[in-house]
C-alpha cells in the first residue's frame, strides 16, 4: 500500500517532501514522486497521511 502524487496537479512546493515521516518523497527529474517501497501511508506515525494533509491542491496526493 502506498500513496502517489498526480504530477500534473502538483505545484512543486515541496511541503510533502519534508513532512513525510518515511523519507518516501523525492524530487526526481521534473516532479515529486513517492517511492512505493518506502511509503507506509504514515501508519504507526500519524492518524492521517501527511502528504495528503499538507498538500494545497485537492486530490493530488492519493492512494496508489
Amino acid at each position: 500500500m502506498a500513496f502517489r502524487i498526480i504530477a500534473s496537479q502538483c505545484t512543486q512546493c515541496g511541503a510533502c517532501e519534508f513532512e513525510c515521516p518515511s523519507g518516501a518523497i523525492k524530487f526526481k527529474g521534473e516532479a515529486y514522486v513517492i517511492d512505493p517501497e518506502k511509503c507506509t501511508e504514515c501508519k504507526g506515525e500519524f492518524e492521517l497521511q501527511q502528504c495528503a494533509s499538507v498538500c494545497p491542491v485537492p486530490k493530488t496526493c492519493i492512494p496508489a
Binding site: T11, Q12, C13, G14, A15, F18, E19, F46, E47, L48, Q50, S53, V54, P56, V57
Partner: protein, 493 residues
C-alpha cells in the same frame, strides 16, 4: 543649501566603478561621517539605526535604498482565500506571475549579482510564494550563506505566523532585524472566512478551530519578536465586507503587542488568478476606501503608506522592478562579491540625505506654521533621492503627497501605464493616466511635453515641470504657499 547637488542618477543606472567614484568625489567632502543623521522626531536612536537603510520600514529610506526578494521557500502551511498557489503568495506580492523559484545556492548567486550591479541594495527578503518560517530549512540556508558573503545586508522575512514561534530564537541569532507577519484578523469568526484550513502539529484543521490556532500563534510570535527587539511589520489584506472594519481592532491588538508598522494592503482578486476570492467575485477595495481606512488607523500603530505589494522576486527601489534583469539565465555561473559600489553609494547617500532632511524639515515647518486650513493633494514623478526627477512620460507611478496643517506627508501612490514609449505618447494611455490621477490637484514632474500638459490641464489636473530636480517637499511647500497666499520659501537646491 550648502553642499552641491550630487546626481544620484548616475548611481542608479549601470555604471563603471570610475564613473561612480567621480560622481561621489565631486561633493565637498568624501567622508561618510559628514551629513547630518536624518532621524525623524518620533523614532528612538536604536530603532533608527535598524530602519534607516530599510526602504520598507522607513519612508525616508525608500527614496535611497533598494530591496530584493528571493523565492526560496515555496511550501506553505495554510491556505488563504486570496491565494492560488500556482501563482505567488498574495500576502506579500502581486499574484498572477509565477516567480522564479531558487535553491539557496542559486539565491546566493543572484544576491551577489544584484549587489554588484545595484548599489542601493540594502535588504534581502524572503516573501513568498509559500511561508519562510514553515519552509524553514531553505530560508535558513539562504540567510546564512548570504550573510557570510555580504555581512552588512539586512535580512528580512515575511510569514503568516503559524510556524513563527518555533523559529524566533534562530531569527534573533541570525540577526534578522525585520519580520513581517500577515495578520488579517484577531477574531476567529472572521478568520474562518479568510482561511479554509491550516496544517499544524501534523494535521489539518479547518473552520473556527483553524482560525483560533492561527490567531494564537500569530499573537505569540509577535510578542516573542517584540521581547527580542526584532522590529515587526504587520501586513493586513483589506477585504471589503469581510475584515475591513475589523482591521481597526487588529491595529489595536498589534500595537499593544509592540508592532512597529502596520501596512494595510488592498485585496487583489482578479478572476484570472484563480483564487477563491477571485472566483467567488469578492471585490477588492477602491483606492478611496483604502485611504479612508488608513486615515482612521492613523494614531494607532505607525502606518506604512508607501507599500507597492511587490513581487516575490522583485529587485530595486520600491516602485521599480528590475527582477527581469537578474533572472538565473542572465547570471554567470560563478560570481564574486565586490563591495566597492555599495560602499561608495552609501557615502554619497549619507551626504545627500543630510541635505534633503534639512530642506524637508524647513519646508514642512513652513506649511505647518502657515496656519492655513487648506489641503493640497500633489502627485510627483520621481525616481528616488527625494527629488522630482522623473519625466512625465517615463513615470510608471506617481507618489501622492498631502500638504495640510499637519505637514507634508506621503499618503500613497498611483500606478500608471507609461505614457511615452519609444518617443511618442499614446492617446488612450493618457486617458488612463488622467483617470488614475482622479482627485489630484497638482502634478509635479521633471519634464512634460505641451500636448499631454494641455490635456491634463483640461481634465482639471494642473501640471508643472518648473520644480524639476528640486526636493519634493520644497516644491510642495512653495506650491502650498502660492495656493493659500503665504510667503513662499526661497528656493533650495
Amino acid at each position: 543649501m550648502s553642499s552641491p547637488m550630487i546626481s544620484l542618477k548616475s548611481l542608479t543606472s549601470k555604471t563603471t566603478m570610475n564613473q561612480l567614484l567621480a560622481t561621489a568625489k565631486s561633493g565637498a567632502c568624501a567622508s561618510s561621517s559628514c551629513g547630518s543623521p536624518a532621524k525623524p522626531d518620533d523614532v528612538d536612536p536604536d530603532t533608527w539605526e535598524k530602519i534607516k537603510d530599510h526602504p520598507c520600514y522607513s519612508e525616508e529610506a525608500h527614496h535611497y535604498f533598494a530591496r530584493m526578494h528571493v523565492a526560496v521557500a515555496p511550501a506553505c502551511n495554510i491556505q488563504c482565500n486570496y491565494c492560488n498557489r500556482k501563482y505567488d503568495c498574495a500576502n506579500e506580492s502581486r499574484p498572477g506571475v509565477v516567480s522564479e523559484r531558487l535553491t539557496p545556492d542559486q539565491a546566493l548567486r543572484k544576491v551577489i549579482a544584484v549587489a554588484n550591479e545595484v548599489p542601493q541594495l540594502s535588504v534581502l527578503g524572503i516573501a513568498g510564494p509559500g511561508d519562510a518560517c514553515y519552509d524553514w530549512k531553505k530560508t535558513k540556508a539562504t540567510f546564512e550563506r548570504v550573510a557570510s558573503e555580504i555581512p552588512d545586508i539586512k535580512l528580512c522575512l515575511s510569514t503568516n505566523g503559524l510556524a513563527l514561534p518555533d523559529h524566533v530564537d534562530e531569527l534573533a541569532d541570525m540577526n534578522v532585524d525585520h519580520v513581517t507577519i500577515t495578520i488579517n484578523m484577531v477574531d476567529p469568526e472572521i478568520g474562518a472566512k479568510i482561511y479554509p484550513w491550516i496544517f499544524h502539529d501534523h494535521r489539518r484543521f479547518t473552520g473556527l478551530e483553524a482560525a483560533k490556532i492561527l490567531h494564537e500563534r500569530q499573537m505569540l510570535g509577535l510578542e516573542m519578536l517584540t521581547a527580542r527587539g526584532i522590529l515587526t511589520k504587520i501586513n493586513s489584506v483589506m477585504i471589503p465586507g469581510v475584515n475591513d472594519e475589523h482591521l481597526i481592532e487588529v491595529n489595536k491588538w498589534v500595537k499593544e503587542r509592540g508592532a512597529f508598522l502596520h501596512n494595510v494592503m488592498p485585496l487583489i482578486s482578479d478572476p484570472e488568478h484563480g483564487t477563491h476570492y477571485g472566483l467567488t467575485g469578492q471585490r477588492g477595495p477602491r483606492a478611496v476606501e483604502l485611504k479612508t481606512l488608513q486615515d482612521r488607523l492613523d494614531g494607532g500603530a505607525r502606518l506604512m503608506r508607501h507599500c507597492r505589494q511587490c513581487r516575490a522576486d522583485a529587485v530595486g527601489l520600491l516602485g521599480e522592478d528590475r527582477g527581469q534583469e537578474f533572472t538565473l539565465d542572465r547570471i554567470p555561473g560563478e560570481v564574486s562579491y565586490d563591495a566597492s559600489k555599495r560602499e561608495t553609494y552609501r557615502e554619497v547617500v549619507a551626504r545627500e540625505r543630510g541635505d534633503h532632511v534639512a530642506a524637508k524639515s524647513e519646508a514642512i515647518g513652513m506649511v505647518k506654521t502657515a496656519g492655513s486650513s487648506g489641503l493640497l493633494l500633489v502627485a510627483v514623478a520621481t525616481k528616488g533621492g527625494g527629488r522630482i526627477n522623473e519625466h512625465f512620460g517615463h513615470a510608471k507611478e506617481f507618489q501622492v503627497y498631502e500638504a495640510s496643517a499637519i505637514g507634508i506627508n506621503l499618503v500613497g501612490h498611483r500606478k500608471v501605464e507609461q505614457y511615452c514609449r519609444g518617443g511618442w505618447g499614446e492617446e488612450s494611455t493618457l486617458d488612463d493616466v488622467i483617470a488614475a490621477l482622479d482627485g489630484i490637484d497638482i502634478l509635479l514632474c521633471a519634464k512634460i511635453g505641451d500636448c499631454p500638459k494641455d490635456q491634463l490641464t483640461k481634465a482639471g489636473v494642473r501640471v508643472t515641470d518648473d520644480y524639476g530636480y528640486d526636493y519634493i517637499e520644497t516644491a510642495i511647500s512653495a506650491l502650498y504657499a502660492a495656493e493659500f497666499g503665504l510667503e513662499p520659501l526661497a528656493a533650495t537646491a
